[in-house]
Symmetry: C2
Subunit: 240 residues, 2 copies
């Protein structure tokens, strides 16, 4: 019986594209003429994914120790320098780039998220399963009022999604078998990794994940237990 | 600057004594004539502490793997059989003893807790740092409406408090230095372990922790940064 839902955060629960673009414009304060922020943010996110893959390939076989983890914040911070250099934009000081990297800890939720989670929470245990740092998910959730029962992140498993150990860690901490848990994400690789371990899956379409000019895969698939257009639709389908 | 508060759960935030006594009476349903439940529950809790010390002494030097952890629920369940046998009470079936062991996942908060946490949460990040299992703290918190920003437990560190690694794990996940974090507990050994690592400390007196006939150490001490009579008093002192 379904008892708990695990949510991806960056992209699924939060609109990183518009938040980070807005923060970039705010911080550069008129000094960014000619900078295509939507494109820069898409490249930034892609650079983060590439760095995550490299970090995952380097991950030790043994269990992690808390001090050995490379924070996702430091990955975003490092990739930002590369992406800005590639765009030929030198208008931000180091302190401003530090501030901009923290935009990933101030992500706004999609407009349906708080309403959907509030309804779902009456029936299910709700937790995150994010690749972002624990502190980042706390900051995002506190600022946005996201009503999680628990926060789980890759940092607690010592590996990033889609490594199976990340999903298993969440099931262990929930004290539930995978079949009682549903992974909710807008990213199919995330759902497929969970499904291979016996978790249920809910795909949530986020057509604007990469902005109006970005390309997001929003096709519903029969392989997922639920396909939803947002968290309110998810609540409609799960709790009626 | 103080940014986050870590709370002990069993005893400090919740009244385990009255909850577990009430659950024992409910489950034994009139078949418990002559059983001194307050005494049995005190012995149960003491047996749990003794088992925790044995488990801590056996803990490996290496970092934990999620599957290797002995759950606190299983410790409570095992100790219950011993304590009931010692008390000469054979009136509960195995299923009833299973149910009674789960009373530790249904602990009621002290009456000041929700009000105090709600005020403190406007200013600080609030998280648990409990020796109870993650799933137990989720169950307790969801049932009681405890508004944590995050749940941290010994299970996530692979060691029980007062092992320094448990406190360090929480600081790492919060992304804060110990001096920005205050440990809140009714148990002085817990506060002293945190203080040795540079955490701030708040002692909360819980004179009824072991029931009306139990003995709790409720003496305020200058060594703690704050001494409070409950969570509302704590909020008064910290946020005014």
């Amino acid at each position: 019986m379904l008892k708990a839902l695990l949510f991806d955060v960056q992209g699924t629960a939060t609109d990183f594209h518009s938040t980070v673009c807005d923060e970039a414009r705010r911080i550069s304060a008129g000094r960014d003429a000619g900078v295509d922020w939507p494109d820069v943010v898409r490249r930034w996110r892609a650079g983060y994914f590439a760095a995550l893959k490299i970090a995952s390939a380097k991950a030790p076989e043994t269990a992690p120790s808390p001090g050995s983890w490379v924070s996702v914040h430091s990955i975003y911070r490092d990739v930002l320098d590369t992406v800005l250099a590639d765009a030929g934009f030198t208008g931000l000081t180091a302190a401003e780039r530090d501030d901009l990297a923290l935009a990933w800890q101030r992500l706004r939720p999609w407009p349906d998220v708080v309403a959907g989670l509030t309804r779902l929470r009456r029936t299910y245990v709700l937790a995150t399963l994010s690749n972002a740092d624990v502190s980042a998910v706390i900051n995002i959730s506190k600022r946005a009022g996201l009503p999680w029962d628990a926060i789980f992140t890759a940092e607690m498993a010592g590996v990033f999604k889609p490594d199976p150990a990340a999903y298993r860690m969440a099931a262990t901490y929930l004290g539930l078998p995978p079949g009682d848990i549903m992974m909710v994400a807008s990213h199919k690789y995330d759902l497929r990794a969970a499904a291979r371990l016996g978790f249920r899956t809910a795909f949530v379409a986020r057509p604007l994940e990469f902005g109006a000019d970005g390309v997001a895969d929003v096709a519903y698939e029969d392989e997922f237990d639920v396909n939803a257009c947002d968290f309110v639709d998810l609540a409609d389908q799960l709790v009626g």
